[in-house]
Symmetry: C2
Subunit: 168 residues, 2 copies
C-alpha cells in the first residue's frame, strides 16, 4: 500500500572511499502540487577501507548499497554526475564506484537519473558554489530535521533526492 501512495527516492553521492546515500519520500497525492510534502526517511554513508584492494572495496560498496535498496525499495534513484576536472585519478575511481552502483540499480530494476553537483547546489541553495555547511543546513530546513544531516556526503545525497522531487 505504501508503495502505491508514496514515492520513495534514493539520492547517491558516489565514491569508492565514501558513498553517501539519502532517502526521502513524497506522497503521490501531493506530487503535482508546487509545495510537496517531503518526508525524510534515512541517510548514511558506505565507507570502504583504504587498505583493502580495489575489487574488494567495490564489492563491499555493491553489497551495502544492495542492502539499502532491498530494505527501502526506492522507486527512483538519483546519482550525482561525474565531473572530470582537476583530478583525473579521483575521476577514475569515482567512475569505478559508479559502475557497481549503476549495476546495483539495474539489479533493482531502477534507471538512475543523473544530476550535476553544480546544478543541485544552485537549485537547493541558489548558489552553484555553496559550501558543504550551507548544503547541510538547507537540506535540514527543507526536510524539517532537528539536526543537520551528517556527514556531508549523505547531506549531498539527500539534496539530490530533494531536487528530483522538486522537479517532477
Amino acid at each position: 500500500m505504501k508503495k502505491k501512495e508514496e514515492m520513495i527516492v534514493l539520492g547517491i553521492d558516489p565514491g569508492t572511499a565514501t558513498t553517501g546515500w539519502g532517502l526521502i519520500q513524497c506522497s503521490k497525492a501531493t506530487m503535482q502540487q508546487s509545495h510537496k510534502a517531503l518526508r525524510y526517511i534515512a541517510h548514511g554513508v558506505i565507507k570502504t577501507p583504504v587498505g583493502m584492494i580495489m575489487g574488494e572495496r567495490l564489492l563491499m560498496l555493491h553489497t551495502e548499497l544492495t542492502k539499502v535498496l532491498v530494505k527501502y525499495k526506492p522507486q527512483v534513484m538519483v546519482i550525482e554526475q561525474l565531473f572530470f576536472g582537476r583530478n583525473v585519478k579521483t575521476g577514475m575511481t569515482v567512475g569505478q564506484a559508479r559502475g557497481v552502483i549503476l549495476m546495483a540499480a539495474a539489479q533493482a530494476h531502477l534507471e538512475p537519473f543523473e544530476y550535476q553537483g553544480l546544478w543541485v547546489k544552485k537549485k537547493l541553495c541558489g548558489d552553484g558554489y555553496a559550501d558543504k555547511k550551507k548544503i547541510q543546513e538547507t537540506v535540514r530546513k527543507i526536510l524539517k530535521l532537528r539536526l543537520v544531516p551528517k556527514p556531508d556526503d549523505a547531506a549531498d545525497a539527500l539534496g539530490l533526492a530533494i531536487c528530483y522531487l522538486q522537479n517532477v
Copy 2:
C-alpha cells in the same frame, strides 16, 4: 590436478561496449624458464548493446565475465590500465566497466594486475605504438595459432596474458 600443474591467466581489455578477454596457460614446471611453454586456451569478447541503459550493460558485462571466470577458473587476471587521454567521456565509461570487472575479480578471489597498453605493445611488438594488426599477428605467432585472434580487443587481452607470463 590441472590447477596445480598449470597456471591459467586471463587477460582483459575493458570497455562498456566491448570487453575483450583471452586465456592462456603455462605449465608451472616451465614457469622459471626463459622460454616458457605458453598454450592458448580461449578468447572472446563481451559485447553490450548501445541502446541498452548503462546499468543493464554493466550488469550484462558482469554476468558474462563471471561465466568466463567460473568456466576456466584462472589463477591470475591481468587488466589493461585506464589511460585518460583525449577522450574524457570514453575514460568515464571505461572506468565504469572496470568497476564491475574488478568486482567480478574480487568475487572470484582474484586481485588483478594492471598493465599499461603502451607497455604491453612495446613488450610484445617492440613498439609502444604498434597497430592492431601487428599485435594480432604477434599474438598469433607467440601462441602458434593458425589464424590471427579476432577481434582486436580479444587479441589485446591475449597479449596482456602473454606479458604476465613472460614477466613472472
